[in-house]
């Protein structure tokens, strides 16, 4: 099918974009990489009367290191982030997850900001942001505000963004000294995850001081399970501890089934992935400690 008719503008600055959003926010849609929005337009599941194309706003394409955080401009292509040495070195969890986002051709156009703003419940990047307890910077008519990941993702495809607001950048805390791993099970490489998990651990010798896990594909927003994180915290990452972790995750997580996988299968996979991800993250943290000695 073809998109329903719309009116179109291609602003060249954030200010122009804000002005357009102010005038047409409720009837309009921002267009970033188009890899989620254009399918919806082509199938006429979305019929906005105004499209505001961000692709000429060059100032939203950057990767900056700022006080222990890496700020990635909303219009930075997923492929650009994937190839960035800063991301590889300082955001290993993001570097793990990016190659799993769709296919090469999708990441060439798809943006980091678009993936976060779209907030697909099976997308990888929201889980990465949640596991790292990162934040986003949002610009509206009243100015700029910062929103933490847990407050930003509200529900399926729903975020704290107002209709006249624009996502400016995504801020990922650097974690080059921690151990991390992103694992997922998908039907083919590049498909949305049936279940995915991002894990970050801080190790002191063999003891895990802090562990964070965020799951994708198992709820309306990225899922954190504090009780599961507590299972490994303050302990050595042994097979016994990992088994307990896996069991607890499978027990506590509450996914829904769909045509791709049943709820039971997702629960089981989540437990297994949690175990593997914490093991891999702890292993990587130990390797880093050894290299630093």
């Amino acid at each position: 099918m073809k998109p329903a008719p719309f009116q179109y503008a291609a602003p060249e600055s954030v200010e122009e974009t804000v002005a357009l959003l102010h005038a047409h926010g409720t009837e309009g849609k921002l267009l970033a990489g188009g890899q989620s929005l254009v399918p919806l337009l082509n199938m006429r599941l979305a019929r906005p009367s105004v499209i505001i194309d961000l692709n000429r706003v060059r100032t939203l394409d950057y990767i900056r290191e700022e006080n222990g955080e890496i700020a990635i401009g909303a219009m930075t292509r997923q492929r650009t982030a994937e190839r960035s040495p800063v991301v590889t070195r300082r955001l290993p969890l993001l570097a793990d997850a990016l190659p799993l986002v769709g296919h090469l051709q999708i990441r060439t156009r798809g943006t980091v900001g678009g993936n976060i703003a779209h907030a697909d419940p099976s997308a990888e990047l929201p889980a990465v942001l949640a596991a790292l307890e990162g934040s986003v910077v949002v610009r509206g008519p009243g100015g700029t505000r910062r929103v933490a990941a847990h407050a930003f993702f509200v529900s399926y495809l729903t975020t704290a963004l107002g209709p006249d607001e624009l996502l400016l950048e995504v801020r990922f805390p650097a974690h080059e000294h921690q151990g991390s791993a992103f694992l997922e099970v998908a039907r083919r490489h590049g498909d949305y995850a049936l279940v995915g998990v991002g894990a970050v651990v801080t190790m002191a010798g063999n003891v895990c001081q802090r562990a964070r896990l965020a799951f994708t594909g198992v709820g309306p927003v990225p899922v954190r399970i504090p009780d599961a994180e507590a299972v490994v915290t303050g302990k050595m990452v042994t097979d016994g501890v990992l088994a307990e972790l896996g069991k607890l995750v499978t027990h506590m997580i509450d996914p829904t089934g769909d045509i791709h996988a049943s709820a039971e299968y997702r629960k089981e996979v989540a437990g297994v992935l949690a175990r593997r991800a914490i093991r891999a993250a702890a292993e990587r943290a130990r390797m880093k400690q050894m290299r630093m000695r």
């Binding site: 291609a10 890899q35 082509n42 296919h103 090469l104 051709q105």
Partner: protein, 206 residues
């Protein structure tokens, strides 16, 4: 073509058409005008193409219907099948997930620039020799991704090839032949089989 009245802003030659909205953009806000048609110039296979397009026209429809370059196929129109893959400024993208207006000022390469029936590109020769196609519907997309992929990874493993091509579906399921073809194409390119330079082919309106 029917002449339209409109204002020209910046270099985009945007035409304002029938502003039906009741509360127009406040004049103090520096918002660009809304348009439903726009004149664009795109470099397609080395030829500059200028046309006025409806803003909702997808790039693949522009390539096929306006330029007459029907080598680029359109299957699913939602980014899943890969048939419409072209190179945009050298990188593979889905032309069904872009609007033609967005390609203004950019460079596009379609399968027409790869080779001709009498002078195939080494990648095309390898696909032919390894039965990397049956009906051929999916082939143009596979070829364009392969071209970009082998430029970046001249000696890929079979696993890397599978990941690189995961974004393409082949209903005839000749996947094994395709993986073999890409592997052999890599060898042919490395061996320096003289590669025909991408041809400037503007298509029907050339």
């Amino acid at each position: 073509m029917k002449k339209r009245t409109g204002v020209v802003r910046r270099t985009t030659k945007a035409r304002v058409v029938t502003p039906r909205r009741r509360n127009p953009v406040r004049t103090d806000a520096a918002a660009p005008p809304l348009v439903t048609r726009k004149e664009i110039t795109v470099q397609v296979n080395g030829v500059a193409q200028t046309a006025e397009v409806e803003v909702r026209m997808t790039l693949v429809d522009f390539i096929r219907e306006r330029l007459g370059l029907t080598g680029t196929h359109v299957g699913c129109e939602h980014g899943v099948c890969g048939a419409c893959t072209i190179l945009l400024d050298g990188a593979p993208v889905r032309s069904c997930l872009m609007f033609a207006v967005q390609a203004a000022g950019q460079e596009i390469m379609t399968v027409e620039a790869l080779g001709t029936p009498d002078r195939l590109h080494p990648i095309q020769e390898a696909f032919r020799d390894h039965h990397g196609l049956q009906c051929g519907f999916c082939t143009p997309g596979f070829l364009m991704t392969t071209l970009a992929f082998l430029r970046e990874r001249p000696s890929p493993t079979a696993d890397e090839i599978r990941v690189a091509l995961a974004g393409h579906l082949c209903r005839c399921t000749v996947y094994q032949g395709i993986v073999e073809a890409v592997s052999d194409a890599a060898a042919r390119l490395r061996a320096g089989t003289p590669t025909p330079a991408p041809r400037a082919r503007g298509g029907a309106r050339e």
